[in-house]
């Protein structure tokens, strides 16, 4: 059950091309599992920006000197994130969380590959920790446009059995995409499960590569949201349910983590004709 907390910023720091914010938000850390996200108010109480910004939770501390804290990572994209980047310690920040369905962990000590694109690696790092605690073998693939857009390399290196890095511009690691190196990692580590978070195109490539090998994948999607709590119906995408039917489901409450082979990747952004309640030809608008 999520909480709305009038939090206070404890720390804000630049990490490569990104910003990492730690917020004192009592109550949220205890409820958080890897894959959960936060919805953050931007612009203050009188803001003309009404909608919250959603960020995957990176790290939580249940007990700090100032109470429980929650940390998230973001890139400046527009006015809302620019405002967020200009915050300083002790500034107020209203946060709602933890939101969404987290990653489901394997029951036994299996071999796991984690794939992160850009700062999509943020929720994978606490996941890596949880998997290691269960005795899993953890292999990590990180990809980004350039070296400064990689996130969590040192964390991952400390926890992972192996780490592979790709950048589009070749500024570090292998030049190319994560999908170029992933087949080798999956085969070599004899992966049983794949987890991924990052841009939709990357998630699709990861889900497809896993499916080709018969490996289950869990992907945390990034869809544009207005509320983050399940009431606005903005963040939908076509997903196949247990009954085999496709529905337009809310990524904020039914996701953000989905089984990779259940997302209708070809149809993301549209309503497939066979989806439940899809407009029929010549039917109602």
């Amino acid at each position: 059950m999520p909480l709305q907390v009038a939090g206070e910023i404890l720390a804000i720091k630049k990490v490569g091309a990104y910003q990492a914010v730690t917020v004192i938000a009592p109550g949220i850390p205890e409820l958080t599992r890897p894959g959960h996200f936060l919805a953050v108010q931007v612009g203050g109480p009188e803001s003309s920006m009404l909608l919250r910004r959603a960020f995957a939770i990176y790290d939580v501390k249940e007990r700090g000197v100032y109470g429980g804290t929650v940390e998230f990572v973001f890139a400046v994209h527009g006015k809302g994130t620019a405002w967020l980047a200009s915050r300083r310690p002790q500034d107020k920040l209203d946060v709602v969380g933890p939101l969404g369905k987290p990653f489901r962990l394997p029951k036994s000590a299996v071999n796991v590959t984690l794939v992160g694109g850009g700062y999509g690696s943020a929720p994978l790092l606490p996941l890596a920790r949880a998997l290691r605690e269960r005795g899993c073998r953890v292999d990590v693939v990180l990809g980004a446009g350039s070296a400064d857009r990689l996130f969590g390399f040192l964390d991952a290196k400390r926890m992972a059995d192996s780490i592979a890095v790709t950048t589009d511009d070749g500024s570090t690691g292998t030049r190319g995409r994560v999908s170029d190196v992933l087949p080798g990692v999956l085969d070599k580590s004899r992966a049983d499960v794949v987890y991924a978070c990052g841009p939709m195109a990357m998630l699709r490539a990861v889900a497809d590569l896993a499916a080709e090998r018969g490996i289950p994948s869990q992907v945390a999607v990034e869809e544009s949201m207005a509320c983050g709590i399940g009431v606005c119906m903005t963040c939908v995408l076509p997903v196949v349910g247990d009954d085999g039917l496709t529905r337009m489901v809310r990524s904020c409450v039914e996701g953000p983590v989905f089984l990779g082979d259940r997302v209708r990747w070809d149809d993301v952004g549209s309503v497939p004709a066979d989806a439940v309640g899809a407009p029929t030809t010549g039917g109602r608008p």
Partner: protein, 344 residues
């Protein structure tokens, strides 16, 4: 203690703060943040006869102090709604105002029949801002005859004790005329207003930002339009109860609607950014009434329609010199008859 109870067409509600259709689903999600039974009522997302997928994405664009949406009435259909959503609201003990939507008069009539006599339905809100498939997609709410056809069909299929409120669109030339048509057709009250039709173009892709091209504008950006509409409808039909909505973010915003003539208000888009807002707004409204020495919410309804109070404390005008309502504040040395006041 301010008496916050309100009556909408003979049905009493504990207080005047409701959720808004399409902004609270069926209450379950918001109940995680506050006890929804403390609200006057929960207005559920417009339900249609059949399950509906809604439109393609993107469905939303943030705008200054507002947002544009083109969801396309995604929903589970009336059967699932009754079994799950309404059953949940009933078990929870919340007051449900069920919003219905259709593409034809028959759709609305069928929905009213399905809801008829259901013990959990306190009131029905008729979302007439839907395209009429039998009239080239013309929106019901933009035409007095089409609106009254829908309202009449719902009224005929709804129990006498269940009020029906028609939700008006601001995108009309004369909202009072549509309001009157709805009331003549049997609406017990009016919900004022639905979203305004708007559009955003993405200057990077150089295409409309929404997959649906146009969308409904909501949020504080539309509040002055909504207050104006409530004021005009109340002036035209002073005895018809109004559920007012459009960009309410604070208790003082809610008070504006009450003063304009609303007996209750819906909090909509604000919930997206502040899920706890409805209860906060209720508290703020109660405090605002108390600060103004108003003992009962009902005493404040439509107060803005009073003639202006004369401000002549030092040298009271002799009886008979009163220039009449609307002119008592004018200064005699103004060289112009219709001096336009500048707002600060």
């Amino acid at each position: 203690m301010t008496d916050m109870t309100t009556r909408l067409a003979g049905v009493e509600f504990a207080n005047p703060v409701f959720t808004a259709s399409g902004c609270a689903a069926a209450g379950k999600e918001l109940d995680q943040f506050f006890d929804i039974t403390l609200l006057g009522g929960v207005v559920t997302k417009s339900i249609m006869r059949a399950p509906r997928s809604g439109r393609a994405t993107p469905r939303m664009a943030e705008t200054p102090s507002g947002m544009l949406n083109s969801i396309g009435l995604q929903g589970p259909g009336i059967a699932s709604f009754l079994d799950n959503d309404l059953a949940w609201l009933q078990a929870r003990g919340a007051r449900a105002v069920v919003s219905i939507a259709g593409g034809s008069v028959e759709d609305y009539a069928t929905l009213a029949k399905e809801l008829r006599g259901h013990p959990a339905v306190s009131m029905i809100e008729v979302n007439i801002s839907c395209p009429n498939v039998e009239d080239r997609g013309q929106v019901f709410a933009c035409d007095a005859r089409a609106s009254s056809g829908v309202v009449q069909a719902v009224r005929q299929n709804t129990a006498v004790g269940t009020p029906i409120f028609a939700k008006l669109s601001p995108d009309v030339t004369d909202i009072a005329a549509i309001a009157r048509a709805c009331v003549d057709a049997g609406a017990d009250g009016l919900s004022v207003i639905n979203t305004l039709l708007g559009m955003v173009i993405d200057t990077t892709t150089m295409r409309p930002a929404l997959a649906g091209i146009t969308g409904g504008l909501s949020g504080p950006a539309i509040r002055p339009v909504a207050v104006r509409c409530v004021y005009q409808v109340h002036a035209a039909l002073p005895h018809v109860p109004i559920l007012g909505m459009g960009g309410i973010r604070t208790g003082l915003d809610a008070l504006e609607f009450v003063l304009a003539g609303a007996s209750a208000v819906s909090v909509g888009t604000t919930v997206f950014g502040d899920p706890g807002a409805p209860l906060r707004i209720l508290d703020e409204l109660e405090q605002a009434l108390a600060e103004r020495g108003i003992a009962r919410l009902s005493d404040a309804v439509g107060l803005a329609h009073r003639p202006p109070v004369e401000r002549v404390p030092e040298d009271p005008d002799p009886v008979g010199d009163d220039p009449g309502p609307g002119l008592s504040d004018s200064t005699s040395d103004s060289p112009f008859e219709d001096d336009i006041e500048e707002t600060p």
